[in-house]
Structure formats: C-alpha cells, structure tokens
C-alpha cells in the first residue's frame, strides 16, 4: 500500500496515461511518429526525480515539470506529450486508478481477516459465553457466534468495495473545462473521433466507462463514495477492537502477546490489548476524515476550484494507508486470539442461575408447585444471592438457597440440571455453521473463480 501511494507509482501512471493518450490519438489519425510512442514506452518508469524537481522549481507546476522530464528522455515524443490535455487528465485519472487499486489491496486484506475469523468462529462455535446488551449481562451467546457479527460487517464491506470497484468510472479525456474543445480542435471538428478517444483511453486503462460529463476534474463525489467505503472498513475494525479490548479486560480473551513482549514499563505483569487499541486509534483518525471528502465536494465552485488539491493529497493516501495498517493489525489479532474458557465459565457461573429463572419456575411447577409462589420465591432468593455476591461471596448460591427452601420443592441436583449453559445459547452454534456455509464458503468460492477470471475468461 505504501508503494501504491509512492511518487514512483503515481508518476509512472502519469507517463502511462500520456502514452495511452498518444497511442489513442495516433490510432485516430494524429500524425504521431512510431518512434515517439516507442520512446515513451521505453521510459515509463525511468523517472529522474531530481530533474523533475529542478523543472518544478522553475515552473511552479508539477505536471509541466513531469512533461518536460518525460520529454527529455523521450525526445521524439516531446512535441506530442500531453497533446490536447489538461493537468487533470493525468492527475485525476491517476487518482482513480490508484483508488481502485487501493480498494483491491484493502479487499485482499479483509479476506485475510475473514479467513482467520472463519477458523476462529468454527472452533468456538458452541462455547457458551455471556452476551451483553447495555454492556450488562444479558442472555448467553457463543464465542463463535460473536465472531460472526464481526465477520458479517466485513462481508458487507466487501460487497460495498466490489460495487464501488466495479462501477468506478474514469475521468477520461475531457480537456480544460470538460468540454473537450481542445480535442475537437485536434480532430478538426470530428465529434465522433473525440468520443472515441475518450473511450479508447478508458478501455486501455481497463475502466468500464468514462464519466459522461466532467468539469475540469471528475466530480469529487467519487472521492466521497470511495472514501466512505474505506471508512466503513475502518469502522468495522474499530467495533471489533472494542469488543476485543473489553473481553481482554474481562480476562475471557486476549490478543496475541509475544514471549518477550513488555506490557508496561512500570507494571511488569501487564498484558495490554495494545494492537486492538491501535486499531481504535487509527480507525478514529480514518473516520474523522470521512466527512472531509463530502465537504471537499461541496466546496467545489463551477468547473473546479483548487481548494480540493492539497487536501486530497493528504486525505486519500492517508485514509488508505491507515486502513491498510488497521487490517494488518486485525489480521494479526484474529489469527492469534487466545480464548480462556475457564474464565468465561467462571463469569458465566456467576450469572447463569439468574438467567435460568424462567426454566427454574417451570421446574418448580413440574414438581407440583404454584407458578406465582415459585416466582416470588425466586425473586426473594435472587436478590439475596446478588446482594451476597456484591458483599463478597465467591459464587452465586441461588440454587443452594432455592433447594433449601421447602416451598420451592426441587432438589439441588435437579436444579443444577436445568442450568447447563449449552441450553441457553439458542441456535448460536447452528447460526455459526449456517453463516459459514451460506455466506463465507460461497464468498471464498467466488473468490477463486474471480482470481481465475482475472486471468482473462469470457465464460
């Protein structure tokens, strides 16, 4: 991802765009010699950045600096480089290519995370654990089922990435204010050739279509669309990191910790969820930038204003780079999550008798009791057991209290039989199985078909 946003990649793309433009113009009859095209092709990545810097110092214009530096190494092409084009031809089209590749890279990382989480969810599919609503113990769920919630968010992100990736248009060949006037001049009024050039260059760069109309730049709405998908990935990761941090605080689960890792410079015993915390930190940064993209779009006047430029140069790469880092962290955490069933079960045991009250009432009625009496008995003893826990009791003794209460009339052994945690997880294990079967497996199957399709297939 770092390489993607490097000067070498960006300006290599500019040169490719100049080549595509020259080739397209040549195919449509502009007298550009073969030697010009040949020299351009031979120097796509041989960029002398010192020469560029020297030109830029003179011209105070980055695109013109690159035009001249390219012309120096491809002298036969010098008279034709950038013919008819405006700066946005290279800058905007290159940004679209970069963003599209960026989405591809993020997508691959999201899939890595999903692979790890799929194995995790399968392994812990039926490990009961406390579910929380309002951050208070609620009904039970399973460790694996909770992982499917994280996974589903990422699957939705992938669907969004795919849609954006597939439909992202090219700026194309549009000229200074988007009217293609310079190209109409170049082709002596032949509108069809101007349209063809736009489409030809778009095809060469493997985009589905050029935008139908533009100002000088492509509408900055496209940035907002793409960056909102990127921010969505960051948000999914942040939600995951929050859960991991809390579970680590409970002691139920921990992110990986290397054998020589130090938790705290002072508190030697500490094991901190620092990777998950770093996700949270970066994701907050990414999410704070999402709104910026729409503001940039909103602030564009008429055919374009330059107040987008410096802002975009920071926001676009930074959002991609930070989200890439987030996903590297998330892949690392999700492939090495440590689960501590003993802690989970201990915490469960403290709450489980309360959660079983519905079942306990049924048990009492089956033993010949009165439902209303049983309810009152449980209420009384529950409050007492909860009080005792808060006052220092080391376990939840609700069941003992009930078994000693003659009015309840059920033996301790029978009461304990009603609170097997597996009875309280509903369909969670089956939901994990179904989610993996119906959502994840087809996604991965589609994935290999997709990578094969990329190897050029019509069928």
């Amino acid at each position: 991802m770092l390489e993607l946003w490097s000067a070498a990649t960006r300006h290599g793309l500019w040169r490719r765009l100049w080549l595509a433009l020259a080739e397209g113009e040549r195919e449509l009859g502009v007298a550009i010699p073969d030697e010009a095209v040949r020299q351009m092709r031979a120097n796509l990545d041989k960029i002398d950045f010192d020469a560029v810097a020297a030109y830029e110092k003179r011209f105070r214009h980055d695109v013109m600096a690159h035009v001249h530096a390219f012309g120096d190494v491809a002298p036969a092409a010098k008279p034709f480089i950038h013919l008819g084009a405006t700066s946005a031809y290279v800058t905007d089209n290159a940004d679209l290519i970069l963003m599209r590749r960026g989405l591809d890279l993020l997508r691959r990382r999201v899939l890595d995370v999903l692979r790890s989480l799929a194995a995790f969810a399968e392994k812990w599919r039926d490990q009961p654990t406390l579910g929380y609503t309002h951050l208070q113990p609620a009904q039970l769920t399973t460790v694996g089922k909770r992982a499917t919630l994280w996974m589903q968010d990422l699957v939705l992100d992938i669907e969004d990435i795919d849609y954006r990736r597939r439909t992202l248009p090219f700026r194309g060949v549009k000229g200074t204010t988007g009217t293609q006037a310079s190209f109409l001049e170049l082709f002596q009024g032949d509108h069809e050739k101007v349209r063809r050039l736009d489409q030809l260059v778009t095809e060469k760069m493997s985009f589905p279509a050029p935008l139908a109309v533009t100002g000088q730049t492509y509408t900055r709405k496209l940035d907002a669309f793409v960056l909102s998908v990127v921010a969505g990935v960051a948000a999914s990761a942040a939600k995951f990191s929050g859960d991991v941090r809390m579970l680590q605080s409970f002691g139920e689960m921990e992110e990986p910790f290397e054998s020589e890792q130090v938790g705290s410079s002072a508190m030697a015993y500490k094991r901190n969820p620092m990777r998950a915390e770093r996700i949270a930190s970066l994701a907050r940064f990414v999410n704070s930038l999402e709104a910026n993209a729409n503001q940039t779009h909103a602030a564009q006047y008429f055919e374009r204003t330059l107040d987008d430029s410096a802002n975009r140069r920071l926001v676009i790469p930074e959002m991609f780079l930070a989200t890439d880092a987030i996903l590297v962290l998330m892949a690392n955490i999700s492939s090495g999550l440590e689960v501590h069933p003993a802690v989970i079960e201990r915490r469960l045991a403290a709450e489980l008798p309360f959660m079983a009250t519905e079942q306990l009432i049924v048990r009492a009625v089956r033993a010949g009791g009165d439902r209303q009496v049983a309810h009152e008995t449980i209420r009384k003893h529950s409050l007492a057991a909860a009080r005792a826990l808060k006052d220092g009791a080391d376990s939840n003794d609700l069941l003992e209290r009930l078994s000693k209460d003659k009015s309840f009339g059920v033996k301790l052994k029978d009461l304990e039989g009603t609170i097997d945690p597996k009875r309280f997880v509903g369909r969670a294990p089956e939901q994990v199985d179904e989610f993996l079967r119906d959502v994840i497996t087809p996604l991965f199957a589609g994935e290999s078909a997709r990578s094969e399709r990329a190897e050029e297939l019509r069928v």
Binding site: E192, K204, S206, V459
Partner: protein
C-alpha cells in the same frame, strides 16, 4: 487490418472491446468484428489479422447450420450483399470485408446464457470447493476438464468490465420471467449440444459457451414477438475451444485460439517484464502470426474450407 472500425458513415450504437455495433435503421444493425484482441483483461496494442473475419464467418456458418434449431438475427454476412443493402458503405468495402454482419434489431435479454459441457474455469473451482455447479450438486469424483452430460446451464448477468456475475436460475426468473427463462434455457442447451456434436467431428471440443437472445419487435413483417439468437455464436471468443487431439482430462487444457498469445504474455509476466496492466507488451510478429493462424485453422477445421478473402460463400 482494421484497428478501429471508426470511419463508417453510420451512427455508432455500441462499441465493445473487440466489436463495434452501428445503427443502420430502425430495424437493422451492423455488427463489425475488429481484429483487436484482449488477454488478461487488457486490450493488446496489435491486431490479429483475419480474426474479425473469422469470428463473423464462424457465426454465419453456425447460424446457417443451426437454422432448424433456432431462429436468429442474421440478415447477411456477405459484404457485397451488405453494401447493396446499405449503399452508404460503398467506400468501405475493403475494410469491412468478411467482418461485417447485417442483423435484425431485437430487444436483447440482459442475461448471458452460459452452457458448460466440460468442467473448466470458474465451474471447476466451484466444483472443487463445493461439489456444485451453478449451485446444483454434481456427481462426486469428477476431474478438471471432464465432460458433463447433460451440459449445465449457468446464467450470468451482464456486468461492466466483462466480469459477468453468475446468478441462479431463480434469479434469472425474477429478472426476465418464468416463460422466457424456460425458453432461453431450452434453446441454449439445444444449440450448444448440436454445436458440440458437430464440432467434435471436426477435432474441436467446445468446452463451454455463452449465448445471447433477443425478442423481435412486432413492427416487422410478423405480428408475433419471438425469441431469437443474437450476438456471436459458438466462436472462439464466446466459447472455450480446445483441440480434441490433445484432450487430456485431469488438468487445464490449452486454448485453441489464444494459447500462443497467453503463453507469450505469461512468459513476459514471469520474467517481470509486464505487471498485467497497461501498457501490454508489444507482440512479436511470430506471436501475431501464430495467433492469426490459429483462427484460420479453426475456421478451416469447422467449415472444411479456407476463409474466402472475399467473405462470401
């Protein structure tokens, strides 16, 4: 050689990576197959001589052969005849030679009707991972490139950028209705099976293919709308063609038409000289000639005679 069929005095209707479509009038279109070739999703800078004419004349040959199986959109693939019908094209006879087809306009169904007669490509991947094809269970123990009897119908929607999305038959029903789904599926299977059988006697395995259908408009001579076969038919561009004499199930098969091109591009990629993006490498003359030769060979094998440079039969 025709890079861009750009200079025709007709209104452009649609331009594809390798084919251009022009409007002739309210009832007719002109399809022009160029010599452009794409591989690994990138359009090559060079053209493949005769490719466009081969594709057009193969489609024409099949449509004549399969006339009893299916109604189709072809009015003429004979350039002289087309020029008599569309006199504006008089000055373009040379560049259109063999590669143009005059067709009836239809309302095209937004579905790619894929029929697979051999287990290959994305179908093989799906089978490996899930034991299914287009979501339906297949017998266990099949190998890559094994023949499928009966062939499997696996529709796709037409998506941008050539990456069609596979859909279920139920989804197809919801898109175009139950009767049309049944009809397209039946026609696709019939045409493919007839084509597969004919090609097999000529040393060509048509491993899978993709059809498109359109509904005629009742404005023509007929009052009744009917479903007819449109687009290219059983060509190496719309199908996977394998040489039968080297057929060897258990792994992937070479492509009859594009193998020289793919081999060359693979070698360029492996050598680190091409990253898979624009610009593609320049194709050496041997590769262009070998690929062109493959197209002519396919035409000769299928039809039993060489491609007539005048494009008439």
């Amino acid at each position: 050689m025709l890079m861009q069929a750009s200079a025709l005095p007709l209104t452009p209707f649609r331009r594809g990576k390798v084919r251009d479509v022009y409007e002739v009038d309210a009832d007719r279109l002109l399809l022009v197959a160029t010599d452009r070739v794409s591989a690994f999703d990138v359009v090559m800078g060079e053209t493949i001589p005769n490719k466009g004419a081969v594709l057009t004349q193969i489609t024409a040959w099949w449509l004549r052969r399969l006339e009893h199986e299916v109604d189709h959109h072809m009015l003429s693939a004979d350039t002289s005849e087309i020029i008599r019908e569309v006199p504006q094209l008089l000055d373009h006879e040379q560049e259109l030679q063999g590669r143009a087809m005059l067709v009836r306009r239809t309302t095209v169904f937004p579905i790619e009707c894929v029929v697979r007669g051999y287990l290959s490509g994305s179908a093989w991947k799906e089978y490996q991972e899930r034991g299914t094809l287009a979501g339906e269970a297949l017998p266990k123990g099949l190998r890559e490139s094994d023949r499928l009897d009966p062939p499997i119908f696996s529709p796709a929607t037409k998506a941008e950028e050539g990456h069609d999305e596979n859909i279920t038959i139920d989804r197809m029903r919801s898109l175009i209705g139950d009767p049309a789904t049944t009809e397209l599926q039946g026609l696709s299977r019939d045409v493919y099976e007839a084509g597969r059988a004919i090609a097999a006697t000529r040393g060509i395995i048509i491993a899978d293919t993709k059809f498109e259908f359109g509904r005629t408009r009742s404005t023509g001579g007929e009052a009744v709308e009917k479903v007819i076969l449109v687009d290219e038919v059983l060509t190496p561009d719309s199908s996977r063609f394998w040489p039968a004499d080297s057929y060897d199930p258990g792994h992937g098969q070479p492509s009859f038409d594009k193998q020289p091109l793919r081999d060359y591009l693979d070698a360029e990629k492996r050598a680190g000289r091409w990253d898979g993006n624009y610009p593609p490498p320049r194709l050496p003359k041997e590769v262009i000639d070998a690929t062109s030769g493959r197209y002519l060979d396919i035409y000769r094998r299928l039809t039993g005679h060489s491609l007539d440079p005048n494009g008439s039969h």
